[in-house]
């Protein structure tokens, strides 16, 4: 089944077209990596799909719900970890997680239970009572992602989840993300090409607001006539294909 399908999704700021006629599709349970150089329009695409900004034209269906017509339904099944870390500064790790569970409609008891599960999963037991503002950037980042997972979304958008993480934390996070594979649909953006190649089921490459190509890592390499994924990315994003 298709989890996400966009139909000529377009975003213009004044005269500048930031995302142009995007037609992408993501299968349910798939991990989809959206790649592209800085300013390619990845975050803008994620913001449109998560109902944060309205497309200028076009539409997208998430599990059959339109981001324009049924945004309330869409919001109930998705969650987002924004590119910038986004946590409530004066709340503790535990309170942040319980807060998100609460606004997604879990009752107190299940919010607490969910929180403990997530804390265990992300190794955050030791810092569960620390205020978010006192955590290091990397731990804030992990909390930010944990907050996106706690609501048990059907589709999760991770905008550069590994940004600012050290090597160990990054590997750790990828392991967590890998565990989610098959259970929920994941759309993520990253600049770490090796990881995208190794882990995603499907990859889309954007440049200047346009989806240049999409497929498995092998298909993209074949398309660019190279067996090096980074080289394939450079060729496709640089319009040499």
């Amino acid at each position: 089944m298709i989890a996400i399908r966009t139909e000529k999704l377009t975003k213009k700021y004044k005269d500048k077209t930031v995302v142009r006629d995007l037609d992408l599709s993501v299968n349910e349970g798939e991990m989809y990596a959206l790649l592209g150089v800085n300013g390619a329009g990845k975050s803008t695409t994620i913001k449109m799909l998560s109902c944060l900004i309205r497309p200028t034209s076009g539409d997208a269906k998430l599990m059959g719900n339109s981001i324009i017509g049924d945004s309330t339904k869409v919001k109930q099944i998705i969650s987002v970890s924004p590119q910038e870390t986004s946590v409530a500064q004066n709340l503790t790790v535990k309170e942040n997680l319980e807060f998100i569970a609460g606004i997604f409609g879990f009752d107190k008891a299940s919010a607490k239970e969910k929180t403990q599960q997530i804390i265990a999963r992300f190794d955050m037991k030791e810092i569960e009572n620390s205020r978010a503002k006192n955590l290091s950037g990397g731990w804030q980042r992990r909390l930010s992602i944990a907050m996106a997972l706690i609501s048990e979304p059907k589709i999760i958008f991770l905008d550069e989840p590994t940004l600012g993480l050290d090597v160990l934390a990054r590997r750790d996070l990828w392991k967590q993300i890998e565990k989610l594979k098959g259970k929920i649909t994941i759309v993520l953006t990253t600049h770490y090409l090796e990881e995208a190649e190794a882990l995603s089921d499907s990859i889309g490459i954007m440049a200047d607001g346009v989806l240049k190509a999409q497929g498995t890592a092998d298909e993209l390499k074949a398309l660019a006539k190279t067996d090096n994924f980074e080289e394939a990315f450079v060729r496709i994003a640089g319009d040499e294909v």
Binding site: Y13, K47, S50, C51, L52, I53, R54, T72, K75, Q76, I78, S79, V80, P82, Q83, E84, T85, S86, V87, A88, Q89, N90, L91, E95, F99, I100, G102, I103, F104, G105, D107, R131, M147, S151
Partner: protein, 248 residues
Amino acid sequence: MRTLVFASRNLKEITRDIFTLIFGILFPLVLLVLLSAINSSIPKEATMKLFEIENLVPGIAVFGLSFISLFTATIVSKDRCTSFILRLFTSPLKPSQYIAGYTLPLVPVALLQTIVCYIASFIFGLEWSANILLALVVTIPVSVLFIALGLLCGTIFNDKAVGGVCGALLTNLSAWLSGTWFDLELVGGAFEKAADLLPFVHAVNAGRYALSGEYSLIMSELLWVIGYAFVILVIAVILFNYKMKQDK
């Protein structure tokens, strides 16, 4: 339920800020001490009644509430200017739930602040009477007014500008035009007229009448406050909704 979850987060966020304590509670108390000290050095024959405790407390209480605007504005604009709002906006919270969630937690904070102010006044010679309870009730619409002002400022200004606009401009405006520090009639002219058209002096007067037991005079003063509170709240809600729909 969701509203309460959001409100409780906001309450924590505000009360855990050390500035809340300093400005919200300590600063009004310091003023109370200072002005009472000034009052005790004014000779009785001067018949200067302004700084007598019964006149002073309602003024200080209103002045203290102007910091509630600052707290409201700070949290609203901080949320707006960081990506935290992105997270909230992709959650199933509705606009009305945002507004309620920002407004509700500040009402008890405002009441607490006023109660502390009145309790402290006992030290400076305020005598207990049931009228004090009435004065506390009068505080409720006044706090809604200041919360609404805070919502409005937080919606319009970014988190840096908010400190200046609410922290400096609004607190001064509400102080100078409230008749707490000097008798507005003595200044007269356009200044008095302007003060009369704004809600601050009416908020203070309502408190004074409540305290002195001149019940029949309270409502006409309070209507100014309620009217302003209502209008500003409506404008704040409309603007907030508008900004929510606008592209980030």
